[in-house]
């Protein structure tokens, strides 16, 4: 075991962390917006939109992410029309292609999770809001959306973790994020096991922090008597 080599490798791999995080965060944020639109399509009750969203879920969840990535990165360059269009400066870059593929992929998974969350909102809640005289948009914003998000949070957390893991695929189209950097170091040093284990430790650390964060959010959103109110009541009681 060469501690110095491991330490140097670890430091070099840390250089890939910003790109990994950047890919994960941007695609998750953009994917969330797209997912919300798709979930609304499903819930809209308009047959064409509903049908479109379901087809989208079916196609993007039924094919490997790597195939989607290759279709965008290698596949689109086949068409002269795209190569001469204004989109080419974007579609030529592996970074943007990876981002587009990850975004579209996570949108499919997150969209069906969000839609599932919306289905799980008890009808009584919506009915009560209607009785209070709320309009459809206000019901959605105040009642359905918060409840659906809370319902979806555990499953969405898993999707976030799998997105962090999925960013490793960007190394296949030459991006130098953590896995890409690791593969480069291996090709220079021929010490596969140490390097990939060090890379694994980095991913584990990222996902550990992410899991902690999701647990904290889940705790924040879980329905319970707010702790501050309790302590205030006790304090008031003490004064009396």
């Amino acid at each position: 075991m060469d501690i110095q080599f491991l330490f140097d490798t670890f430091l070099e791999l840390l250089g890939g962390v910003p790109l990994t995080l950047q890919l994960a965060i941007s695609s998750v944020c953009a994917g969330f917006v797209l997912a919300m639109v798709l979930a609304l399509f499903c819930a809209s009750g308009i047959p064409f939109l509903d049908w479109f969203a379901r087809l989208y879920f079916f196609v993007f969840r039924g094919t490997p992410l790597l195939v989607q990535l290759f279709l965008i990165y290698y596949g689109l360059s086949q068409f002269e029309a795209i190569r001469s269009s204004f989109l080419w400066p974007i579609l030529r870059e592996p970074y943007w292609c990876a981002l587009i593929a990850f975004t579209m992929n996570t949108a499919a998974y997150a969209g069906s999770i969000l839609y599932g969350g919306m289905l799980a909102v008890p009808y009584g809640q919506v009915e009560a809001a209607r009785v209070c005289g709320m309009k459809r948009t206000i019901i959605f914003r105040r009642i359905v959306l918060p409840l659906a998000l809370r319902q979806a949070l555990p499953a969405y957390g898993n999707e976030l973790i799998s997105m962090v893991k999925a960013t490793s695929l960007a190394s296949i189209i030459t991006l130098m994020e953590v896995t890409g950097t690791a593969a480069r170091i291996v090709s220079e040093s021929y010490r596969a096991i140490e390097v990939f284990v060090a890379a694994g430790v980095i991913y584990l650390m990222i996902n550990f922090l992410l899991t902690r964060g999701i647990h904290m959010l889940e705790y924040q959103f879980s329905p319970r008597v707010p702790a501050q109110n309790n302590s205030r009541n006790i304090a008031v009681g003490g004064q009396l």
Binding site: F58, V59, G62, T63, P64, L65, L66, V67, Q68, F70, L71, Y74, G75, L76, S77, Q78, F79, I161, K165, A166, T167, S168, L169, S171, I172, T179, A182, A183, V186, Y190, R191, A192, I193, F196, V197, A199, G200, Y203, L204, N207, F208
Partner: protein, 239 residues
Amino acid sequence: MAETGILMIVGFGEGGWGSALLSAAAMTLAVAICGYLLGVVIGILAAWAKISGGRMLRIVADAYTTILRGIPDLLVIFLFYFGGSAMVTAIGRLFGAQGFIGFPSFLAGTIAIGICCGAQHTEVFRGAFKAVSQGEIEAAHACGMGLWLRFRRIIAPLTFRYAIPGLGNVWQVVLKESALVSVTGLTELLRQSQIGAGSTGLPFDFFLIAGTIYLIISTLSGVLLHMAAIRSSRGLRRA
């Protein structure tokens, strides 16, 4: 080359890639099924360790599932392919061989997929075992069944029935994961499409076909799994 339509590519005639793609799809299925079965074995053992193993076994099984769910599958495949090759090369050197010796990519892919999905199988089996009602196991006790008989006649069939939906989900994940094995150079579906794309200059058509074949396989296996779920719960009274 401009006339080479998508139908020409999937054709079996001259210049058609149909048979190559079909055998590549078979390779995809082979590596996915082998990895999946290895994962089932690992999952059963790890679930058993978590449920009724000693403290040490439990810690090992917990560490295994935590680690494997936290690192990318691609990294595991790289680790087994390059790590395996490094080991084989080192062993080869001991026996006087020269240069780099590659680890068999099918084996590396199967082991990597098996170890990755084993972590998910562990949770599926553990959850399914938890769903088996204690009364059934108690009743088996009361009938005087020994440990092995109890496992074979009561626990295993019931656990399996509850595990089927989860097993189906893991299979869909494994099928898509098998595309990653293409990085080791194994000629499965995605690798074959890359080869085809390279030699015809039609990457979009080839990757579209590959995507469609994956979609067909996953849809068909979805139907089969649904049938299996119905069949396994026949004789159950439904509300």
